[in-house]
């Protein structure tokens, strides 16, 4: 019996998790995807979503990537000077919930890094005052080259992949008298891309050393890209960067047509091509479609970025056309300023709880699954992306 063929479209967190789980289920996996979409904006905090039903698969995946740590109710610091809780974090991010006392915020000359303002911000946070946690800027000179106050965070982090440099930095920290009474040390997101420099520094100093979260275009995302590449080469998977334009039923399974015209035959397809941020779902401007639109879903403004037998919807119902002669309006889906997800954060492909996509007739399609930000009504969080990817991958491999 030959292995089941599984095609995964999209190689962000959910796509990679789906590919991992499908391979774990002994399927032959094809992974198609370019640059990760929303995953490339990850801050390094893992927020709750639907945790994978299969905890063993989740642990195996996290261990394989060795990038993220599950830590329910951990506390992490942002570069906006705020503290927040999360359910896990990038391995380099400092978990403040494990610390009591005063944390040193490294005060090094660096464009846009204001240790005084950050420490002041953290000290004013209810999360810190409730636990008696304090922050103080501590002047340290961790740079070795004159350009380092100004180069981008990711470049600076990459320079900390050098073991010799980490040894030197550990020496600097150990020698600093101001750090002796500190309970932890907080850096910006600079501590290595492929190397776990935060852990090495923690061991050397004998106290937790770690980072703030990255901004949305930052270092945590670069680490994911590196870990993804490493995993693909270990697994012998080639990441195909071509676009899929159409998927359709074919024989017992499905066929995907690429932009080049080539077709891939497969037994199951997992759509993990992202939501609005990752451009799996696109908004077609009303003025561009009003005159030649067909009635129905296209008038609703949102469309899937590839041609697939899936329906977009939100709040459990298919997206309907608006009555306006102008065509679709975005305003009803916009953010109203509160904590509840906006309409545009909910829109996605309608699925049944197993992960199977609901077709035009409302019945699940056996060979088509969806995961990650593409799924309607699911939280747009990293744990949701990983969890839904793992279950979709396992189900696709089982058939």
């Amino acid at each position: 019996v030959s292995a089941r063929r599984v095609l995964v479209i999209g190689a962000g967190a959910s796509g990679v998790a789906a590919a991992f789980a499908a391979r774990r289920g002994s399927a032959a996996v094809t992974l198609i995807g370019g640059a990760p979409g929303a995953t490339s904006l990850t801050s390094g905090a893992l927020d709750a979503g639907r945790l994978a039903n299969d905890r063993a698969a989740l642990d195996a995946f996290l261990q394989e990537l060795s990038l993220w740590v599950l830590a329910p109710r951990c506390m992490v610091a942002t570069q906006a000077g705020t503290l927040r809780e999360a359910d896990g974090h990038d391995r380099a991010v400092l978990d403040l919930s494990q610390i009591a006392g005063c944390v040193a915020v490294i005060d090094a000359p660096r464009a846009g890094w204001d240790a005084g303002a950050l420490a002041g911000g953290y000290n004013a946070e209810p999360l810190a005052t409730a636990r008696g946690l304090r922050f103080a800027p501590v002047a340290i000179a961790p740079w070795r080259f004159a350009d380092e106050p100004r180069i981008p965070n990711a470049d600076l982090a990459a320079r900390h992949d050098d073991p010799e440099r980490i040894a030197w930095l550990a020496e600097v920290l150990v020698r600093a008298p101001e750090l002796r009474d500190m309970a932890g040390v907080l850096f910006g997101p600079w501590l290595g891309i492929s190397r776990d420099a935060a852990r090495e520094l923690s061991v050397a100093l004998g106290k937790p050393v770690g980072e703030t979260l990255s901004r949305l275009d930052g270092v945590a995302a670069t680490r994911f890209a590196r870990a993804r590449g490493d995993w693909c080469s270990r697994a012998g998977l080639t990441l195909t960067a071509e676009r899929v334009v159409r998927i359709e039923a074919h024989n017992q399974g499905a066929a995907a047509v690429l932009e080049s015209g080539a077709a891939i035959e497969t037994d199951a397809v997992i759509l993990a091509c992202g939501g609005l941020i990752g451009r799996g779902v696109v908004w077609s401007a009303p003025d561009a479609q009003a005159w030649n639109a067909e009635p129905g879903a296209r008038l609703a403004g949102f469309t899937l970025s590839l041609d697939a037998p899936a329906r977009l919807g939100l709040r459990g119902a298919p997206l309907c056309a608006t009555g306006s002669p102008e065509g679709a309006l975005f305003a009803p889906h916009a953010w109203s300023g509160d904590a509840a997800p906006a309409g545009f954060e909910r829109i996605g492909v309608l699925i049944e709880p197993s992960g199977r996509v609901l077709g035009a007739d409302g019945a699940p399609i056996a060979w088509l699954l969806a995961a990650g930000d593409l799924v309607a009504d699911a939280p747009r969080t990293m744990l949701q992306a990983i969890g839904s990817g793992l279950s979709a991958g396992a189900l696709a491999a089982r058939g």
Partner: protein
């Protein structure tokens, strides 16, 4: 006309001098290329700064001489450097993130403040001696308004941008959203 009114109302007024006295900052033309090279910023940033401040650019040059890292670009879209933000807060009566945006155009470019509003809030809190959370709250309100302004425009790029902006807000200022309501 003003002269007639002053005469009739018998107001003691000094003679009109708007035709001879330059506006503040208009006393002298600042040479852009020289200024850019002197403080180490690019020509576009320098030209826009000189356009807004004229001869008062000297005050900003002075700040950067004392603290070179204030030449850092905070808002990359427009673009605005940190020294200008601090200058308008200290010297020009700007007192909120909104004021800074009106004076410098910070946050009014393509990304709607996604990359700079939070940092600007920190600077406002420092210079105006506000609590850091108040600075964050001002940034949050600015971002929320920018998001709703953009959806009038529609189009894929704007909608995607709005999704990005909201992701930023949720990642960094999430705790302030509930509190602000």
């Amino acid at each position: 006309m003003t002269d007639v009114l002053v005469d009739r109302l018998k107001i003691a007024a000094s003679p009109c001098r708007t035709h001879s006295a330059p506006l503040p900052g208009g006393e002298r033309v600042v040479e852009v290329a020289g200024f850019a090279a002197q403080v180490g910023i690019d020509a576009v940033t320098a030209a826009r700064l000189v356009y807004r401040h004229g001869a008062r650019t000297d005050l900003i040059t002075e700040r950067i001489r004392e603290r070179p890292l204030e030449a850092t670009v905070v808002c990359a879209c427009e673009p605005v450097i940190e020294a200008e933000i601090r200058h308008v807060l200290v010297q020009e009566f700007a007192s909120t993130v909104d004021d800074v945006a009106r004076r410098t155009r910070l946050g009014l470019g393509a990304c709607g403040g996604m990359r700079c509003a939070v940092r600007c809030g920190q600077i406002v809190a420092q210079e105006r001696h506000l609590s850091p959370r108040e600075g964050g709250r001002q940034a949050l309100r600015f971002l929320a308004r920018q998001a709703s302004t953009r959806c009038v425009a529609g189009g894929q790029a704007q909608v995607q941008q709005e999704a990005l902006l909201l992701a930023t807000v949720r990642a960094e200022l999430g705790s302030l959203i509930e509190e602000d309501r």
